[in-house]
């Protein structure tokens, strides 16, 4: 086995989370998983380096997320199931109705308080171990403390603070994250890969800027729970920290992978989390009876690999993975979550499933196969082949291509464009171009300097009250490499080193122009980027977005004004449309000691000095928050038809369907 500091948390007590033989969620899927891992020699509960001791969550821990009346109701219903049906049954029925236990999804289960507390405790211990908090347990040394933990019984993402929903009673994910918020200063990134929207977790942290929730799910237009629209963005201070990527039914692997790659890295960079929590509901698989995303193990493997890579690139490896949905119990769940564990513990999987395991579990699947096929059919899906897999990976021939593939993947691309436009700050967006956008330009430089200037990169000295600064436009990567960022340069990626990486990626792109201000000894204190308008402006030529940043220690000296003026000394200035979006959630108003409206005025004045005018717009980021502002400058030689198309776009409807 690899020397990855990874553990798998599992406790046989968790198997009592069992709503009965007729219920789609069966704990036996975990038995099949543990059996598969054991048979392959990938995990053993007796190996102290691989296992993690769990304990139930306390009432006090549950109450970090759940309301006390709800916890009391769960306890009452949980105990009542054990007792004789007494005279209180009417009252209990009312409790069940009020708190979401009255339907077949999440029926009252005797002892459910205890078993769900155990699962919640498992996720809380697992995340605490990853974070080095005392609740994670004591370890012989820091070197053996796990960096990654997989808790397959966790992932109850639908539970609300005050009700049960969608097979979930308590929300282990939300409680574990809330515990970290309380016990440390850390920021937590949650990525929900389940086919259903992660509504309970989103709801628990909807106004919390220290938790970013990202959910990739089948669109809620028809599927449970019906939420997870792109425009659910968070509330108050949490605005911009709830990200939803609704996917079309029948998305399939290629489109899914493209979506993940276009979204996850830029979002992680812009949030700069300390730890990543992922939920790997494998009901995304084509054989799942409840959903329609149509992935195979290839898509699921890519998802797990990306999560692992993000944890190492951005969070020093801190990563907790959880289970979740997955209702093809024996053909999909054991393989999918073995892939999670193998990736996390850096062990390689054999190609073939062990014969003895197949012999044990194929008969179990055969006994439910007919039901599974019937469910596929009533859900409007093509029948899945009646085969039990013999390999970890899926065989392509078992997954016929969807007829509407092109249409579906372009719909997904539009949604990605909208999410990136709304939630990824401009500099980050430019540093992580989405795959579909290949710039038609030979280079922005040639386009902006039609007359062909003598030097490709101009420079100019600027005297300020803090000394001389050097301004340079079209800054080449070779030059940028010799510079370093000021400590206050972190408006977009939150950490100066990462901000520097962003600048480097932008400098390398021929279709972006990077202008910087630096001190004579090589410290970058300000930057302006000019780049073609993003997906929102698709179809409009000659429209460029301008973004500006001045390091926090260098403000109020007029540097922004001179830097912007210098960056906009372009031959083509009057032939193009430039715009800038001021979004209050990127503003460091605390550091500036002024309210957002004052700052808005400041930005409007800064851009007005270069001929920018404020335009009213229905663009959602601007129209949702009165402090936000869109400023644009339409060059004098811009064709009037082009200008009027731009103005029309400003007032177009806030989704990309019209494009």
């Amino acid at each position: 086995m690899g020397d990855a500091r990874a553990r798998l948390a599992f406790d046989a007590g968790e198997l009592s989370y069992d709503f009965g033989a007729e219920h789609p969620l069966q704990p036996r899927r975990l038995v099949a998983l543990i059996d598969l891992l054991g048979t392959c020699g990938l995990w053993s509960r007796t190996n102290e380096q691989q296992a993690l001791a769990l304990r139930p969550a306390t009432l006090e821990e549950l109450s970090l997320v759940h309301t006390s009346d709800y916890i009391a109701a769960v306890q009452a219903l949980s105990n009542a199931g054990v007792d004789e049906q007494g005279k209180d049954s009417k009252q209990l029925n009312q409790l069940a109705l009020k708190y979401g236990f009255a339907d077949g999804d999440t029926p009252v289960l005797p002892g459910m308080h205890e078993v769900t507390s155990r699962i919640v405790g498992g996720s809380l211990v697992a995340l605490s171990a990853v974070m080095g908090l005392p609740e994670g347990g004591a370890f012989a040394s820091e070197e053996v403390r796990p960096l990654h933990v997989f808790h397959p019984a966790g992932g109850l993402h639908h539970a609300w603070p005050n009700r049960a929903s969608g097979f979930c009673i308590y929300n282990d994910i939300a409680v574990a994250i809330a515990h970290v918020l309380r016990a440390s200063e850390a920021k937590v990134l949650y990525i929900d890969f389940d086919a259903h929207h992660g509504d309970g977790v989103q709801r628990s942290f909807y106004d919390e800027p220290r938790v970013m929730t990202i959910s990739l799910h089948e669109t809620g237009r028809y599927l449970f729970p019906g939420t997870g629209d792109v425009l659910e963005l968070g509330r108050g201070l949490g605005r911009g920290y709830s990200i939803n990527m609704p996917l079309e039914p029948f998305t399939e692997d290629d489109s899914y992978i493209e979506v993940m790659e276009a979204l996850l890295s830029p979002l992680v960079v812009s949030f700069a989390p300390d730890v990543i929590v992922t939920q790997h509901g494998c009901d995304t698989h084509a054989w799942d009876p409840l959903t329609h995303l149509s992935l195979t193990m290839r898509g699921i493997q890519a998802q797990v690999k990306l999560a692992h890579q993000l944890a190492h690139t951005y969070c020093q490896g801190r990563w907790m993975a959880l289970g979740g949905g997955g209702y093809d119990l024996y053909r999909v769940v054991p393989r999918a979550w073995s892939i999670v564990w193998a990736e996390m513990s850096e062990q390689s999987l054999p190609d073939a499933l062990p014969e003895e395991w197949v012999d044990r579990w194929r008969p179990v699947w055969l006994s439910v196969e007919e039901q599974e096929q019937a469910a596929q059919q009533v859900m409007g899906k093509p029948p899945s082949p009646a085969v039990f897999p013999l390999q970890f990976q899926d065989r392509a021939q078992d997954f016929p291509a969807q007829p509407r593939r092109w249409e579906i993947s372009s719909a997904n691309r539009h949604t990605v464009g909208l999410v990136r436009h709304l939630l990824v700050p401009p500099s980050v967006r430019q540093a992580f171009p989405s795959l579909q956008r290949q710039s038609p330009l030979a280079g922005l430089f040639d386009l902006l300097h039609l007359q062909g200037s003598a030097t490709p990169s101009r420079s100019k000295a600027l005297e300020t009250s803090a000394g001389t600064l050097l301004l340079r436009d079209f800054c080449p990567p070779s030059m940028l490499e010799r510079l370093r960022p000021d400590a206050g340069l972190r408006a977009f990626a939150r950490l100066p080193e990462r901000e520097m990486q962003l600048l480097m990626s932008i400098a390398k792109r021929p279709d972006c122009a990077l202008t910087i201000a630096h001190t004579p000894d090589g410290v970058i204190v300000g930057q302006v980027t000019i780049a073609p308008g993003d997906e929102w402006w698709e179809g409009l030529d000659n429209v460029y977005e301008v973004a500006i940043e001045v390091s926090s220690g260098w403000r109020a000296m007029g540097i922004g004004h001179d830097l912007l003026a210098f960056a906009l000394e372009l031959d083509a200035l009057e032939d193009i449309i430039l715009f800038a979006m001021g979004l209050s959630w990127h503003w460091d108003t605390e550091g500036l000691g002024m309210n957002v409206y004052r700052y808005r005025e400041l930005i409007a004045r800064l851009f007005a000095s270069q001929g920018f005018v404020e335009y009213p717009t229905t663009e959602p980021n601007i129209s949702m928050e009165p402090a936000n502002v869109l400023l644009a400058r339409i060059g004098k030689r811009v064709d009037s038809r082009v200008a009027s198309r731009f103005l029309n776009r400003l007032l177009s409807s806030p989704n990309l369907s019209g494009l």
Partner: protein, 231 residues
């Protein structure tokens, strides 16, 4: 559904003597567009008497006029003008028992964005006229939220469409019976006529993550259903 069910009751108000600058700040701070203007009723009672309504449009207009005109009459900056000078009297009002449909019709026909909701309370001394006591505000947003709520949008659930050929409601009735039998909660049912005057389909919001058992029963009973974009 009556106005009481959907109106806003946590109200931010101004008095006739407040300045426009104060009102503008409130509108900006709370991000809305309507401020009821009230004055306290007779001593002892805390219930506010409705005097009028001030909208962000009224303020914009006052600001625009103020910046255009330099005559002596209006030389006072708009910020210092008093609410009573620019507010409407808000003569159109509804009561909490007005039907939502009637209120919606008034809003649309009169081109209004909001209606004050009042109760009439007789004054203490005999013969005095009744005064309108402000109890709520009904805005277009309240109506939209009421619509979303009656579609079940605030409850977790999935959507199912049941075609109703020739407006025959039997498939819907059977579906509801089956849902009850299978303990599937129904968050909302909408079967509104879209063409002619008969409903051609019903849209159900079901509180379940697992519709397969219900769908299987529907097939058995030969009831058509769809999720629209899943063929």
């Amino acid at each position: 559904m009556i106005v009481r069910d959907v109106m806003t009751t946590k109200l931010i108000t101004v008095t006739p003597d407040d300045t426009l600058s104060h009102a503008a700040n409130l509108l900006r701070q709370y991000q809305f567009h309507h401020l009821p203007v009230v004055k306290a009723s007779t001593a002892g009672s805390k219930r506010p008497i409705l005097e009028g309504l001030l909208t962000s449009q009224d303020i914009d207009m006052a600001a625009a006029v103020g910046s255009l005109s330099s005559t002596d009459l209006l030389h006072q900056p708009w910020q210092e003008r008093r609410v009573v000078e620019v507010m409407h009297r808000a003569s159109l009002r509804v009561t909490p028992n007005t039907s939502v449909a009637a209120a919606a019709q008034i809003l649309v026909e009169r081109g209004l964005n909001s209606l004050p909701v009042v109760e009439y309370e007789p004054m203490e001394q005999e013969g005095a006229e009744t005064k309108p006591i402000l109890v709520g505000l009904l805005t277009r947003s309240d109506l939209l939220i009421a619509l979303a709520r009656s579609l079940g949008a605030y409850e977790p659930g999935m959507q199912l469409i049941i075609p109703l050929p020739m407006g025959n409601l039997t498939p819907l009735a059977k579906t509801l019976l089956l849902a009850a039998e299978l303990h599937i909660s129904v968050r909302s049912v909408m079967a509104a006529p879209l063409e002619a005057s008969i409903p051609v389909s019903a849209v159900l919001r079901l509180g379940t993550i697992n519709p397969a058992p219900l769908l299987a029963r529907l097939q058995e009973a030969q009831i058509q259903y769809s999720f629209a974009d899943v063929p």
